[in-house]
């Protein structure tokens, strides 16, 4: 007996990703403004005697805060955006059901301007077929022990578990 397909990206997951993007964007914006305020204050408090120290301090604050914002924008917010785009594609696209013994491998693929995915091998009566699953969902899929996958554009969109 099999349960109904379990979605890898539920409505709650999509809402969570949207909240994450919004929250981080807001936090990074506030942090940038704070850093800019500190740099402006350093410039405003500059005198002939402390000009060099203030300039170095402003460059250091601006550089380090910029690195933090860039890192979070590229990797935290950027990854969440890419994941959200990927989720949308999987939730809306056409699916193919593939049954067999499922194994999540360690082979990975980083798609430019998209997600990082791990390969999933499915042993079907016709032979082994390979698909991809988002790295962020690989553990969930692996732990579920699925017996069938729903594939969309070569990626795992949902799975079934036989009881």
């Amino acid at each position: 007996m099999t349960d109904a397909p379990v979605e890898l990206y539920t409505d709650a997951d999509v809402r969570g990703l949207r909240r994450k993007i919004k929250g981080w964007t807001l936090a990074l914006g506030l942090f940038s403004l704070l850093a800019l305020g500190v740099c402006i204050a350093l410039a405003a408090l500059t005198t002939t005697g402390n000009a060099q120290r203030m300039e170095l301090a402003a460059i250091a604050v601006s550089t380090v805060s910029g690195w933090i914002v860039l890192y979070c924008a590229i990797f935290t917010v950027g990854n969440a955006r890419r994941e959200l785009g990927h989720a949308g594609t999987l939730r809306e696209g056409e699916r193919e059901r593939v049954e067999g013994r499922v194994r999540v491998t360690r082979r990975w693929l980083r798609i430019k301007k998209s997600i990082t995915a791990l390969a999933v091998d499915v042993e079907t009566p016709e032979g082994v077929r390979s698909f991809w699953v988002s790295r962020s969902r690989a553990k969930r899929l692996s732990e579920a022990g699925p017996t069938a996958l729903y594939i969309c554009h070569g990626y795992v969109a949902a799975y079934e578990v036989t009881k």
Partner: protein, 162 residues
Amino acid sequence: MRFFKNVFSQLHTFVLWALMSAIFWGWIFTLVTDAPPAKKITVYCYVPEIRDTELAVRLEEDKPDGIKMIQVHNFEYLLFNSGAVEFGDILILPASRIGEYEELLLPGVEGVKIYDAASRSGAAAAYLGYTEEDYYLFLGAKSVHLEDGAARAVADSLLAAP
């Protein structure tokens, strides 16, 4: 581990940001630490060593009314801004270089000896590294602070500095 991999994958972005940050704040501080000629007094010193910031701070302690800042530069500064000395308000030159810069000096006004090599004594010696020759202080021919007396006031402060 993933953190370092991420950083290396975008290293060019982080390096570019650091460069942009240094250039931008360097420019901002150039603006902050400068003023129009009417609001500043510029002193050029032909000496091998100079504590320019400390001397400027000292001279700013009793700067004349209407003057926002006093800038002290070594002549080496002219390598980057060769025309600036023309408008210098005060010039300190060794005796051997006076002829070279004569057209920049206020005509008809004698230079004031600021350092005497024989006695090894002079003004502002704590800030200016004099060599083994006499040094003279001159007012600049194109100074915009001759009429308001600000250039002379700062020159007097300079001559009184230890």
